[in-house]
Each structure stands twice: as C-alpha cells, then as structure tokens.
Amino acid sequence: MDLTIVPLQPLERAQINVLRVRGGLTAALVLAAAITAEIVAAEHLPVHGAIAALTLLAGIWLAWVSPPRRWRHWGYAFTGSELHVAHGWWTQVHTIVPVLRVQHIDVSQGPLERSFGVARLVLHTAGSDDTIVTLPGISRATAEEIRDTIRVRIGSAA
C-alpha cells in the first residue's frame, strides 16, 4: 500500500548519473584497496582473487544497479505553502516543511552536480532532528524558483 499525502514528482533523471558516478568512485576506491590486499597478502590467501571478485560485484551493484533504484524512491512536491520530500527504501520517510518555518535556504551545486545539470535545495529550520532538509537532484531553475517563492513568503510573514 502506498502513502499519498500529495502527488510527488520524481527527481531529474540526470541525478541517476550523479549517483552512478558517486557510487563508481566509492567502488573504485574499495576495489583498489581490495586489489592491493590481494597482491600484498597473495601467499596467505587460499583462493586467489576471491576478495577482489566479491568487491567487484559489490562495486557493480553500487555504481550501476542501485542508483536507479535509489533514485526511484525519491520524490518531492512544492505546493506553495509546503515543501514535501520523500525518500528511503527500507524505511520510507516523507517530510513536510511548512514554508513559514524555513529559517534560511541554500541552493548548492557540487562539481559533479554541475556537470550533470542538477542542483540541491537545502532548507534550514529551527527544529532539532530534521533541522536540515535536503532535496537533491532537481534542476537549478526549479531550485531557484522554489527558493525565490519561499523567500518571498518568509519576507511577507516577518
């Protein structure tokens, strides 16, 4: 059974590539470590290449298989008075940030995100556990549009 508070939009498809590159980098690092271990401890290992092979499988999962799955579990909606962000696979979390509770907003873009043309919207509230709510993988234009709308709303409330 699915939970619908508001209809959610998916993230930009380009975000999958961001996740893939990130996963790929992690996988490459771990794989390098595994290969080094294989070479250094070659004579102590009963089966040669087992560690590297397992790491390679994990790396393929991390870099190729899991990004689209993770991407699919993200969703967002901006209603004008609230921002909804949903994510999570095993534990699914849907967070609602009332616009009037936003303390300040950042739109940020790392080098990787810039090259794939996506941005992240970061909302800061006065809360304790969810004090920072991040929405990654939306287009820069959308992020700026939401930011400007929220800024006007906060301005008019103050």
């Binding site: 059974m1 508070i5 609602i96 509770r101 556990d129 969810d130 709510v133």
Partner: protein, 471 residues
C-alpha cells in the same frame, strides 16, 4: 545609561579557584612524597609552596585580565593574555540573567552570573563570580536597558505558581530511591581498598567461611534491607541537594525557578521560548497521583533530559496550573484517539522477539537458561497494553500525545512550535499498513519525542497534512 568603567569579578574568586583545583592537586601527593624522600623535607616543602604560589598567580592573572562593562547598548566581556578576546552582547539579545551559587560562593555571598541570549548554549556570557548585590544590579541594569516600557516593578516580585515544602521534597526523595548510587558507593570502596592495599584474597577466604557458616535467611534479608535502606538514603540525599526549596515564580513573560540545598541556582524561563510541555508519571509515584512537569525551550536546557524541570513532583492540578501559566492549553486525555490495532502486533514483535532470541541463544549455550522463556510473556503482556495507553489528538491549539504503560508521558505541543512533520514507514509498518507521524520541534534534546507511532497509513497522511497546514 552612560558608559561605565570596566569591572572585574570578585577577588575572592581567586581563592575559590585555588580551592577548586585542590582535588586535582591531591594527585600530585605521591610524586611529592617520592620527592620528599629523595630531596629532604625542606626542599619538598619549598616545592609545594612554589607550586601553590604558581597556582595562585595563574588565578590572579585570570582574575586581572577578565573585565566586563555595560556600554550604552551592549554588555562587553574582555579576557585573554596573548589571545585577547572581546565578546560583545547587544542588549536587545539579552533574554535574562540567571544566578548559581555553589556552596563556597554562598558562604562568601557570591554568585555566578549567566547572561542568557536567544541563541542558547554557546554564546552565553558567564561571570564567575560577583557579589550577590552586583548580580542584582547587573540584572536590573540589563533589563532596564532592554525593555524600558513594560517592566518597571521590582525584579523579585512575582506570583509563585509552584513550590515544594521540605516534606514534599522528602516524599519525592523516597520515590527517587536509586540503586545506581549504591553501585557507585561500592565502586568507590573498591578503589579505596586498592589504594590502601587490603589483601582481598585473604579477606574473601575469611568472608566465605564466615558467610557459609552464618548463611541464614535472616542474614540475607538483613543485607537486602540494608541495600534498600542505602538506596532510599541515596535517593533522598540526591533529591534534597537538587530540589530543596524549589520555587517557581511567574511574572510577566517569564518564570523564575530557584532550587538547590548547597548549590542554589536561579534560572529564568521565558514563556515565549517554551516549545512544549511534557508530563511524566513514573511507574510507582505515577499510580499514586504524582507527576513531573518539564518544558522544552529554545536553546535547550542544562537540566537532565534536556528540558527545564518546571514541577519535579506535583499533583495533576498543580502541574496544570503551571501549564496554564505558561500559556499552553491543558491536556485533554478524554478527547484523544487510540492508535491502530497493528501497534499491538508491532510492540509484541519489537519487545518480545529480542527477549525470546536472547533466551534462545542463552538456552542453547546453557540449557538450564531455557527457563528464561518464562520471561517472554512479560514484554508481550506489556505490549498488549501499549495501544490502550498510546493516544493522540489534534486539539484546538496543540497536538497532544500520550504514551507508555508503566511509565506514562503526556506531550502538549502547540502548533506554533511544530517545525517539520514527517511520516515514517518501516518495512514491517508497510506490511501492516501503518505509519509513524513525527513532529520535530526546536530545542529538543535527550530522549522522548512526541511521536505518534502506528496509525493507519491514510490517517497518518491526513494527520501530517493537518499538522503542516496549522504549523
């Protein structure tokens, strides 16, 4: 008010500082003893004096370089020898001034002054310590500069909303009996024994034969009774030290709380900064009609649990008066709805399975422990009752939640303090069609958040939307 000359804290703080580093100086005694045998008495006495002089000198320098003053629109503290620091607190940001008097400071008529700002925690200013008269002068001056219009009456005048007599504190202490302290006591004994090098093995040998020869039910009961008595004494002592003379006054937009036997503290709680009220009924005292009231404030609190203790041991009506004085709505227990039936199953699984698994593993290793399975019905039984005691409701101006079978908690969260709302669903919850609604508030610390666990998913969606739109 015009600019005033820089002032220093009271000179006696140097003495207090030296005394306070006393305990850590004791650690140097073995070294000194060793030195004494090698260097002779005179040299080591000179060394001790030199050490004390150095300590006194650093305290004197500390005292000399810290200055404070009130300027036209700010409170300024300057300190540091090489790295000079200057902290300027704009007066409009000063929320209030709290005092704390530790035993020695009390004897000398001094008080530690905390200047509380909106940010809480880190950016407060602390003056350790000034005379009580100076503390009052500062408070008056800071407040007069901040709000010229509203508060011109005496700072100490106010309406007492809650106070505890020594008898009440004693009763609270009896319930607050704690075995942790006994453990601490024995741990301390152990270390002392090591220090004076008692031969434990010999003692244990003697003790064992003694114990075996005298092992009777009476002896066992006596030991148990002694342990309980110690626990009670520990609880009463701790409670008296902390809550003796507890008084909560209300005036205008703030509460002033005074408490403590040896260390007197005076804390200010600004009503506008109160985020939520939490009433707790502990297993035994709760059944006898006693509860504690805490309030969560912006910027948190130094109290245990991260919330301000507003009434540590009160009747429901008394706690209700404090809640009312804080401008929060009353708790409407009868108007609340129970969570979904699936909550029972989830509680049984969450509390029963770990106990079962633990017993099973233990039983495989040590077969007699299979009898531990008799324990499994306890968490399961408690879980069966969970749903009856977990209720929630969106009331006029607040969301209210109650939870807990033995240890019960009631939350009153005004809609204005709701920062974000989340709906969380684990895999199991999705299979059961349930969801948990989480309300995030400002200044939360420690445990116990106002969660509404396990309502039917469509209701959770409705609740979340309603909460977000009222926030």
């Amino acid at each position: 008010m015009s600019e005033e000359a820089p002032r220093r804290v009271h000179p006696a703080t140097m003495l207090i500082g030296v005394l306070r580093s006393g305990p850590s100086t004791l650690l140097a005694i073995p070294a000194l003893y060793a030195a004494g045998t090698k260097l002779g008495l005179l040299t080591s006495a000179a060394l001790i004096l030199a050490g004390l002089a150095a300590l006194a000198l650093t305290k004197a320098v500390d005292w000399w370089i810290l200055t404070y003053r009130l300027t036209g629109d700010a409170f300024v503290i300057e300190s540091g020898v090489l790295h000079r620091s200057r902290r300027e607190i704009p007066l409009e940001r000063v929320q209030d001034v709290s005092f704390e008097q530790k035993p020695i400071a009390r004897l000398l008529g001094l008080a530690l002054v905390k200047i509380e700002t909106g940010g809480g925690g880190e950016d407060e200013a602390v003056l350790d310590s000034v005379t009580l008269a100076e503390a009052h002068r500062l408070r008056l001056a800071l407040r007069r500069l901040r709000t010229v219009a509203s508060e011109t009456d005496e700072p100490e005048a106010g309406r007492t909303v809650f106070a505890m007599s020594p008898g009440r504190v004693l009763l609270q202490g009896l319930f607050g009996f704690s075995l942790v302290w006994i453990a601490g006591f024995f741990a301390a004994l152990q270390t002392l024994d090591q220090a004076i090098e008692l031969d434990w093995r010999d003692l244990i040998g003697v003790a064992r034969s003694e114990v075996v020869s005298h092992l009777t039910i009476t002896a066992g009961l006596t030991v148990l009774g002694l342990a309980l008595a110690l626990g009670v004494i520990a609880g009463v002592t701790r409670t008296f030290l902390r809550d003796y003379g507890f008084r909560l006054d209300e005036r205008g937009g703030r509460f002033r709380r005074v408490r403590g036997l040896l260390t007197r503290s005076e804390v200010v709680i600004v009503k506008d900064r109160v985020q939520l009220a939490l009433v707790h009924r502990a297993p035994v005292r709760g059944r006898l009609g006693w509860q504690s009231l805490e309030m969560q404030t912006l910027g948190g609190s130094d109290d245990v649990g991260g919330r301000q203790a507003m009434a540590p041991f009160a009747r429901a009506e008394e706690a209700g008066l404090v809640i009312d004085a804080a401008g929060l709505p009353g708790f409407e227990a009868d108007a609340l709805t129970a969570v979904a039936r699936g909550h029972i199953l989830r509680c049984v699984l969450r509390h029963g399975v770990p106990v079962f698994a633990l017993v099973a593993v233990a039983g495989i290793l040590v077969p007699p422990l299979w009898f531990g399975l008799a324990l499994v019905p306890v968490p399961v039984g408690a879980a069966l009752l969970q749903r009856r005691y977990h209720r929630y409701g969106l009331r006029g101006t607040s969301v209210q939640v109650t939870r807990g079978v033995l240890s019960q908690r009631d939350w009153i969260v005004p809609y204005r303090s709701v920062q974000t709302v989340s709906v969380r669903r684990t895999w199991l919850q999705r299979q059961l069609g349930l969801a948990t609604v989480i309300v995030d508030t400002a200044g939360a610390g420690g445990w116990h958040r106002p969660e509404i666990a396990d309502v039917a998913a469509p209701i959770a969606a409705e609740l979340a939307s309603a909460l977000a739109s009222r926030a």
